[in-house]
Symmetry: C2
Subunit: 482 residues, 2 copies
């Protein structure tokens, strides 16, 4: 463990991050908004802290990074950036207490989209952009993390993707990260620009269109409106956002392949087929459930069902309807979707379709082995055999996810919230969704969660975002030894 190296890298991250605050600042300047000070103060503190860290922990350039160092940098980096990202909220006149600022910032960087702000439309343009922008940055981080870093650290079965990443230098982690990142970020940026334009065509202002594009692509879900996407009440806008949410939930290396001229990339990937089929089937079931019980018109039922199912499966969290008023079956589908999540290698959260598929295949294999005890069978994904240790690591991930879900629900209920809210809030944060159930439903927010509950949920968001293992391993004392 090279501590100087780790802290130096974190310092560089913070410095870079401080620099990005120029973006929201420019929006406040353009709008001639009086409230420049929060952003200027936050930027100053962030830049100074970054410079101090770099100066204190000088380290020669290196092209190697051990597995442990990688995990430490990811976990510490993400947490620290969550803290600095809170400064603009804390200094603003939205009069939030410290934990609220942290919650909002972590919710942004983890692309969760849960909010403690009760009057979003009262924020300055700069702060609104800041909220969206940290989600967009978080999404960039996630793409790199899930496609270029975690597969090599062997986290939760992500090794499966090793082969599918464009890899110029196979055995060196750092150059690979850089090159892969540049390619995928271009795809990410392209989609963001395309969505902004399409939303503007639909009648959104440039400001609203940009902000929604910035939070759709990372499956974040922060909106510039109190009523979320329901504010615009436009079928066209609903359709555009639904399509881009769907795209954001697909493995970004498939987008890369598609743009490289392989039109069947989506179809050839078994996870992508599973994901798209699931979205389609659940949308149809919810539509059937809503028709005549909530909406008299089947078109309306389809519109709201599709948007809400895709919004939750992709873990975006925008709302066009209050699903807490829907019949029990639709509510249960929404709740279960919070656990499933989108594809691995996308910006979505949750357990990921790939792991669910592997888990189901594993169950089937176990049944088959009981019937034919002497048969030797292997689990295959997309025609390729999955190795034993990947299967074990996926099952461990699923078990750990459920165990931590249960524990966090218990602790959250201990802060005084009710049964449904506890289940809903933890499912929504550990899965990086946004809205939950009960007190934190799609038309409510997290402001009423007790003080310690907000800390707990911030931790849940980080836990989910860093694929459980990466964060929890840093907490095991054994990790730091020797």
């Amino acid at each position: 463990m090279r501590w100087r190296y780790i802290l130096n890298t974190v310092g560089v991250l913070i410095l870079f991050f401080g620099g990005t605050m120029v973006v929201p600042l420019s929006f406040d300047l353009y709008a001639m908004d009086r409230s420049l000070m929060p952003l200027i103060k936050a930027m100053g503190i962030t830049l100074v802290c970054g410079i101090i860290l770099i100066a204190l922990f000088r380290h020669e350039k290196t092209d190697t990074m051990s597995q442990r160092e990688g995990m430490a940098i990811v976990s510490i980096g993400w947490t620290v950036i969550g803290l600095f990202g809170a400064l603009p909220f804390y200094f603003s006149d939205a009069s939030v207490i410290f934990v609220d600022a942290i919650f909002e910032s972590v919710s942004g960087f983890t692309t969760t989209g849960s909010s403690i702000l009760t009057n979003i439309e009262g924020l300055s343009p700069g702060l609104l952009v800041w909220r969206s922008f940290i989600q967009w940055l978080g999404g960039m981080g996630i793409i790199v993390l899930s496609i270029a870093i975690l597969p090599f650290l062997g986290v939760g079965g992500m090794q499966l993707y090793k082969a599918e990443v464009p890899s110029p230098v196979p055995d060196k982690l750092k150059p690979r990260i850089r090159d892969t990142a540049m390619i995928l970020w271009k795809v990410y940026a392209l989609f963001t620009v395309a969505e902004t334009l399409l939303l503007m065509i639909g009648g959104m202002s440039f400001f609203d269109a940009l902000n929604h594009a910035l939070t759709t692509m990372p499956t974040g879900g922060f909106s510039t409106k109190n009523a979320s996407v329901a504010h615009f009440d436009s079928v066209y806008i609903d359709v555009v956002i639904t399509v881009f949410m769907l795209l954001a939930g697909i493995n970004f290396s498939l987008h890369y392949q598609l743009l490289k001229g392989r039109p069947l990339a989506f179809w050839k990937d078994s996870e992508c087929r599973f994901y798209l089929a699931m979205c389609l089937i659940l949308t149809l079931v919810v539509t059937a459930n809503l028709y005549r019980t909530v909406y008299a018109d089947p078109g309306q039922a389809l519109r709201y069902a599709a948007f809400q199912v895709v919004s939750i499966v992709t873990t975006t969290g925008y709302a066009t309807a209050d699903y807490e008023l829907w019949p029990g079956m639709s509510q249960i589908i929404i709740f279960l979707c919070m656990f499933v999540g989108a594809s691995a290698g996308s910006t979505g959260g949750g357990m990921k379709c790939l792991r669910i598929m592997l888990g189901l295949k594993y169950c089937y294999k176990e049944l088959f082995t009981m019937i034919h005890p002497r048969s030797v069978s292997h689990i295959k994904i997309g025609g390729k055999t999955v190795t034993e240790d990947v299967v074990r690591s996926v099952l461990g991930f699923l078990a750990l996810y459920m165990a931590l879900f249960a524990l966090s629900t218990l602790l959250l209920a201990g802060t005084g919230v009710d049964f449904v809210t506890a289940l809903g809030a933890v499912a929504a944060t550990i899965g990086n969704i946004g809205p939950g159930f009960g007190m934190v439903g799609p038309v409510d927010n997290f402001a009423q969660i007790p003080y310690w509950g907000k800390w707990l949920l911030s931790w849940c968001m980080l836990l989910g975002r860093l694929e459980i293992y990466t964060l929890i391993i840093v907490v095991v004392p054994e990790f730091w030894r020797k």
Copy 2:
């Protein structure tokens, strides 16, 4: 697959089962109750059907039984007996429809304790005894199943117990089942007699004491009173029942060892330590949570907390308090307890402490392997290394349990019940608990569940009781081939 043999064995089971209807009949005779007819009709039909089956499918005596045949007999036997057990309810003047009678009977045999009867105290003595008696018979079945049959069929990691069963003839299944069964049933009967006497000392009538003893030992939870155990409102009775519920949740081979003169049997078993420690800790947490929020007196808080936590962890399901009026944290604890369940080899349901322990150890091992990739570590339970295939089969069980829980919740919600009821009712039936949440809370019952929901929940009860695999494997077409 020797079909004649399977159907012959099922016929013997039905015949034996018809014979046991003499027990409730004698209570109706003694009470000179007019309502003898339901039981006489049911007994007649059952006996005749048993005789027909045996006569149609004659089969020479055999001492061997294949794994598949074992599973087929268990699954078919349990289901068929559930059907015949419904006859007395169906013929009675409790005016239940057919599915209700099935639900009540399956709930009895699977020792679940969920009821669709709204006025229990209005039943004839014979029917009341029938309800308790089928739970007691179900418990006997479970002990044999979980200690003498499933370990040899390799179901869900139960192989772990192979070594701990007294085994006179190691390689023949049938003699072993018979001998083990006789020993463990003596223990079971002994506890039942002891509890009856202790409850009578506390002021219960012989009839009530016997009925409650008959439903405590199988962790069933049917009561002769509408208000369940709360009806008696006696600290002494609460304590006696709590102790016997705790005992019923312990592996019966440990009771056997204890009675054989090994006083430290409980302490030496790591699952038993886990189970008792969990009951203690959760009781204390719930007590702290109830004190001042629900009960002003700490003694009262402890009394109701202990009873309800033990009742749910052991999957008995008696009620002395309406936990739906408790604070969120206590409710979440009760809900999570429904999944954990009691010890393997006890009459309790749920996932079982042993599997939860193994799952947690597995997660820890995975984390350890990430830190020290080259280390070789094994999972140990009670000092003994657990083999890879047991670990795999336990993880498969946990994954299948959660997957079927999710699916059943979805389907139940599809019949029209609300979010909380769907979660609560499925958790309570698949775990063989009894009361759930929402519409089926501890002071409500399952009468209001829609028609198809009752079928679904009856299936869930069987699924949970037969350790998932045994029942689900019969549904896989592959099982019947060749």
